[in-house]
Amino acid sequence: MKSTLFVFGFMLLFGLSTQAQNDSISKPKRPAYWQIGGGAGLARVRDLAVSPLFYEGMASQTNFDFIRKDQAVERSFYFSNTIGNLVNKYNKTGLSLFLGVDLGYLRLYQIKKLSNPNWNTKIGGNLITTTNVRLNPVFGNNALGFENITNLMFSAKVTRDVSRKKAKEIQILFFKKKLEVQKRELSYLLDLGLLNMNFRPGYAYRYLPSVEKNNGLAANLFANHQFSIFNGYRLKARLDYTRYLPNGNATQFSYVFDAYQATGRYEPLQYALHSFRFSILFKHK
């Protein structure tokens, strides 16, 4: 099963990569950006293997992306991490540390029939792998939760050009301000998990090798973890408002919603995050 998955994933990425290479031969080089950002939001996590309760709280996020895009194609490698101290309905003072790290690759192609100078529609795929470390000391030997969730997702992005095409002057109280022509975009990206995999704790959650420190970090983290495929779901949505500056850089305000259920072999992990981010995009020379 594992090999089928890897072959499928490799073929998909290889296929996309080949197509991109052909694109790059026939078209000028696409603008590229380094994106650095941060934000905060509300995280909600429940691991039914150890608790029927949701743990909720504020979580902070940082993200670092490399994006190459134009009207026809968009590619991005991205990294983000989320960290928060979450509590449940009854134990408000307990410590339950959540750390999640996402690594991903997004690739989108324009659908010409659904695009015009004002609206641009792209579809493609998003491969995302998320690794979570959760620490809740009240669970004793089950204090450390560790899992990986990997999803191959169908992606669709709609971008609306909301540029200011004419300079204008506005008056705020006694002051006048001139607003220059500015390129601006409002975009909405939706990712739906097609192939959902996870690497989760086994039936009893924690095993003897995992509590013996002498066995090394790998045994501590992975003892009796189970790999599961075609299991669970993931939905990710992102709304971006991007303003381009005269020097080619840009600023971006985003609302990101990410939710998944990693059903695993035994009991599921459920996660949802609503976050607001601010990012700066530096044009890559």
């Binding site: 029927p52 009240v138 030997n141 924690r206 095993y207 939710a259």
Partner: protein, 335 residues
Amino acid sequence: MTQRIILFLILFLFASCEKLLFEPDKATTDTLANFEYLWNEIDKKYSYFELKKINWDEVRTRYRARLASSPTTNETFFKLLGDMMNELRDDHTNLISPFNVQIYNVALKHKPNFNWRTVQEHYLKEPYFTASFAHDFLANKQIGYIRYGSFMGGFDNTSLDFIINRYSGTRGLILDLRENGGGSLDYVIQILSRFVSTKTLVCYNRTRNGKGRNDFGAYEPFYITPSSSRAKYLKPVMVLVDRGSYSATTFFALATKALPMMVLVGDTTGGGGGMPNGGELPNGWIYRFSISQVSDLDKNIYAENGVPADIPAEFDWTNLQKDEIIERAIQEILK
């Protein structure tokens, strides 16, 4: 304006989207829901139903009837769940609420065999206290005595080196683990690694892996590997145990059965061979219980009920100037 409306609609849609995706929050203080949750968790994962001949279905019937027949406050409900967990006769089984902790306390159900005052007053003339160990020479420096009161007590290899080197010229050691209620398995491994010269299989472990009460994974071998380039002691070691020797100490005691130079002296250990795993009830109370079995080299799982001493001995509480168990260990080393 249209753009703003679209923006707000999207935000509103996803603001509560996970409520559509996930099952509802199961948080509740309903007593029956919490009772059923706990009973089911134990049913799915507890590891010693068969060894202890526990009819868990009958326990459910009995305690459900008790729940239905009496009015419940938080405290009476805690007592009811605690009593139900005590049917497992297992000190690795606990229920923890903001106002109380349920404990089975196997040691209190048996005669005590340790009095630290007796040891301090009549055996330790010039004791050293190194990390979590108290130690001294006995019997004209022919024997080293080491007291380790809890496997929660930290130490490092330098401390162990000092102790092992200090008693390297003795004929034997007494390692006193009476009333040692357990702690970290790492310390078990760290100490035992000083008493073996080759990698030694000492026991097996297997863990529940299915809903059937006798569903277990494969036996996993547990080895002790000698501590490389560190001080070792390969002469006789008398390990003193009693019913208060629980959990990691029972694990240690079981491991000695595979090590010919180590001899258990005293009473049967308290048990606690399973690894306790924790979880949470819908009302926020915390529980834990054993999910694995430890077995000897013949794959017998008696350790949960206690590892019997190789040389039984009892403390005589009518004479507090003498520790009969230490005396018996001295006799065994000097014979």
